[in-house]
């Protein structure tokens, strides 16, 4: 990152990049890197390898230092650091992993820059996002993992993992051959949290599909307006946890959306269309989401904010992520949140807010996204959840066999620590985990983990090297922007079809500009 400078006037910064190894085009030679895209070493003959094996056939590691970049920052980063510490302890004297955190928005450019321009500083193994693997793999940054897995002699079989995600980690190299580029770790997405106590008190049930979901929202909004809505603010303002009745004319918006949150965008703008049958990308990795199903879905959403025919609006949007106090007060009933937040909410609900122990279980339902946005519940895509996954990749700067093997040993180890890792909200990719008593009896799993969705339902949405442009999550483009404009008061005059077409052409034009 240090070589990606702030922009100064007159291209000074640009040229910084130019004076890095690799040469300035036309000024110096670029010979030193001409062969970088050559196929990775194909031979694993032990004679010219630096890796040795002991009598049991296990590889011998002696003080191997691995640099590991992780994209998990925040609370799951802390959990991961603990696991890494545990690993370092177990492998003391053999392998030592130095973990460093990279922010999501700098991850790609940091990796490309260091691997190409500053290989000494480049990490050996990285934990990135599976759905974005293609972006970096297409730049020739990563090594295929098969050889390393073989060297490490770990127990790896394709059948051990959920195929719906793992298959997306197999990517084509320049020669057109498929290789594994990401060692699967987990998959995750947002969930909907709902005020179970309020829903039930008002005579509804926690919804499990789109129809029920909308019915509950509309029913609660109508009751509030008619003065029949019963709600229970938490102990901060309501020490006895009494049930109160809202006065008539109260405008209740049960469904809250954080319009600027990337994870909410993934839920509402991507998972929604996918559940309704839209494919995100075509064979060439170009956006293909400009379908009638997408248009229908967003038109439907728009009516929930700008209803016709005397219905009440049920959606509220805000830029802020800070919805939780309104959720406590009973002003919002359904909110989308990352599973890694649940531990914190649980603590607050259980004690500080005053529902007492078990308050969370009593007051809050966790609803996975499956079926929630599908207008046709019977369609095969209705239960899909577009999630993100974490996977380990080897950078092409790893040259020694020992290091390659050590990396795989580390990745394998990490993928087996699901009992700890699920506390970050991440569902294990190993099928075996779901039969492991240690996980199934884990208190966190019982209270939270089991409600996060089924791994079989997850998808990465469609693999493309233009992930940023197709989904437009960070850049307010693509479906993310369609979602925004669906609700934006300034774009009420535009039909959803026009919005979708505009954004589609916009995504295409950005991709075209890279050619």
């Amino acid at each position: 990152m240090k070589k990606m400078p702030f922009l100064l006037l007159s291209g000074a910064a640009l040229a910084l990049a130019a004076c890095q190894p690799g040469g300035v085009p036309g000024l110096g030679s670029s010979s030193s890197h001409e062969n970088h895209s050559e196929a990775p070493a194909s031979s694993s003959e032990e004679s010219d390898s630096d890796l040795t094996y002991d009598a049991d056939g296990n590889p011998v590691f002696e003080n191997v230092e691995l640099d590991f970049w992780s994209i998990s920052i925040g609370s799951d980063g802390l959990i991961q650091q603990d696991i890494v510490d545990k690993f370092n302890e177990e492998y003391a004297g053999k392998i030592h992993v130095n973990r460093a955190e990279r922010r999501h928005d700098e991850f790609s450019s940091a990796i490309v820059n260091t691997v190409i321009n500053d290989p000494e500083e480049a990490p050996d193994i990285v934990q990135g996002h599976g759905e974005r693997l293609r972006e970096l793999q297409s730049q020739g940054i990563y090594l295929p993992l098969e050889e390393a897995i073989e060297l490490s002699r770990i127990d790896f079989s394709r059948e051990d993992f959920y195929a719906n995600i793992l298959d997306d980690l197999y990517l084509q190299d320049d020669a057109g051959n498929e290789h594994l580029y990401g060692f699967p770790l987990d998959v995750h997405s947002n969930v909907i949290i709902a005020r179970k106590d309020i829903i039930e008190k008002n005579g509804f049930e926690v919804p499990t599909n789109f129809e029920e979901f909308i019915a509950v929202c509309q029913g609660l909004a109508d009751m509030a307006y008619e003065g029949k809505y019963q709600y229970r603010p938490t102990a901060q303002t309501n020490p006895d946890l009494e049930w109160l009745t809202a006065p008539s004319g109260t405008e209740l918006f049960p469904w809250f959306m954080s319009i600027e949150a990337l994870d909410d965008a993934l839920s509402y703008a991507i998972t929604g269309p996918v559940q309704n049958g839209t494919k995100m990308v075509d064979d060439r990795g170009l956006p293909a989401w400009n379908t009638q199903e997408t248009i229908d879905y967003f038109e439907q959403l728009r009516t929930y904010m700008y209803p016709t025919g005397g219905k009440r609006p049920i959606i509220k949007t805000a830029a802020a992520y800070d919805f939780i106090s309104d959720f406590y007060q009973g002003n919002y009933i359904f909110c989308s949140t990352g599973p890694w937040n649940l531990q914190g909410y649980k603590t607050i609900f259980d004690s500080a807010i005053g529902l007492g122990d078990g308050g969370f279980a009593e007051g809050v339902a966790i609803i996975p996204l499956s079926n929630l946005f599908a207008m046709d519940e019977t369609s095969p895509t209705a239960s899909s959840i577009v999630g993100t996954s974490h996977a380990f990749s080897l950078t092409r700067t790893v040259e020694s066999d020992t290091k390659k093997a050590a990396c795989m040993v580390f990745a394998d180890y990490m993928s087996r620590q699901y009992v700890d890792w699920i506390k970050g909200g991440h569902l294990p990719m190993r099928k075996a985990a779901m039969e492991d008593e240690a996980l199934l009896n884990d208190p966190f799993y019982l209270e939270v983990g089991q409600y996060l969705g089924k791994q079989e339902n997850f998808t990465l949405g469609g693999i493309t090297e233009y992930y940023s442009e197709v989904y437009g999550l960070e850049m307010n483009q693509g479906l993310n922007e369609v979602w925004h404009q669906t609700f934006n008061t300034q774009t009420q005059g535009k039909s959803i079809a026009d919005i979708v077409d505009e954004q589609y052409r916009n995504s295409i034009s950005i991709i075209a500009s890279y050619q």
Binding site: L9, G11, A12, Q485, S509
Partner: protein
């Protein structure tokens, strides 16, 4: 004749070696961080240059320039295959680089048109008030200057809360309104404008110092010549601080041509121009666009084009800056009046002689 070259070199070394030594750290970094990057940036702009893949580098001539300067539409060709539109024809799409560059340039200029006069005349007005030495003027002087020493990111963060779009924003909750300050083009620019006003302290100091140096006798002389306040401003104050004004004008202009921090912190380049989706967000400035290209995505093959944009924009700003040399040149008198004078008295003499 002897050349005395040796002595000459020794003489100059003696005279300038210390100066050279002291200049060295600057010279080295100047060459390293300005000259070399600048030259290679120009060079790079004539190439397709991919930092992710240096082998993917080839000469393209002026293509990078014409791409964003003159190409509003581009065909969609992915991997050598054209993408077909719904009508079966090869699809043409708007060239975002073209629109981003020209519209951000337009926005940058329009904003500079507003902010530059304000950030000169407002501090000038304040400085002239303080020149009257009101009670506590030292305090006022500091108060006017202090905001400009705060980092834009810090004050910007405060502004984000003050002008938050939701009803919880300080201003919205104070007024009980729900104005989307940062979401409508004019008000977004207005908030950026306000944040920019935080930086007037430097101009204030320069202009205040300039005002102090306008000779008092000129004011007195103009009083005796019968000037009113406005004429005093026109004939004495403004000419008296001509160089300070020109310095402020050009540094401010160049500064705001490079506007980036304020709109980055406050609006992230938004809000979008919904009527024209091919255009950038209405608070995109040229630097913002360039920075977007540099860091926005994982695409690294655009370095040649980015360099070209930088070079063109650098030329525009450099051109503006060199205007100063032209405007600040000292006027020479000529001899119009002198000739008229001669003719006048010759004619008079002739008339008398007749």
């Amino acid at each position: 004749m002897q050349s005395h070259l040796k002595e000459k070199i020794a003489y100059y070394l003696k005279g300038y070696s210390v100066a050279l030594l002291l200049l060295l750290p600057f010279l080295v970094s100047f060459v390293m961080f300005f000259v070399v990057p600048f030259v290679s940036g120009i060079n790079m702009s004539f190439f397709h240059y991919n930092i992710a893949d240096p082998s993917d580098t080839y000469f393209v001539g002026l293509d990078n320039y014409s791409y964003f300067l003159f190409t509003p539409e581009i065909p969609v060709v992915i991997g050598g295959e054209p993408l077909l539109g719904p009508d079966g024809e090869p699809m043409m799409v708007a060239n975002t680089a073209f629109y981003s560059f020209w519209y951000s340039l337009l926005y940058t200029f329009l904003f500079a048109l507003v902010i530059v006069p304000v950030s000169i005349f407002l501090p000038l007005f304040l400085a002239s008030l303080l020149k009257k030495r009101p009670y506590g003027y030292r305090l006022f002087r500091s108060l006017i200057f202090i905001p400009s020493i705060f980092a834009v990111s810090a004050t910007g963060a405060a502004f984000v809360y003050i002008f938050s779009n939701s009803e919880d924003g300080f201003i919205n909750s104070l007024l009980g309104t729900r104005i989307e300050w940062l979401n409508t083009p004019l008000s977004a620019w207005f908030v950026i404008f306000l944040l920019c006003l935080y930086g007037i302290g430097a101009n204030f100091i320069i202009l205040a110092a300039g005002l102090e140096n306008v000779p008092r006798s000129l004011y007195e002389s103009s009083l005796i010549d019968g000037c009113n306040s406005f004429q005093k401003l026109i004939y004495v104050t403004l000419p008296g601080i001509k160089y300070q004004l020109s310095l402020c004008f050009f540094t401010t202009l160049i500064g705001y041509m490079n506007l980036y921090g304020q709109n980055r912190v406050l609006t992230m380049g938004g809000p979008s121009d919904f009527a024209h989706p091919e255009r950038p967000g209405v608070t995109h400035t040229v630097i913002y666009v360039i920075q977007d290209y540099l860091t926005g995505s994982g695409k690294f093959s655009l370095m040649g084009r980015i360099s070209a944009i930088c070079i063109v924009f650098g030329l525009i700003v450099g051109g503006l800056a060199s205007l100063r040399l032209f405007l600040d040149r000292e006027k020479k008198g000529g001899n119009r009046h002198a000739n008229e004078f001669k003719a006048y008295f010759e004619a008079k003499k002739a008339a008398e002689g007749r």
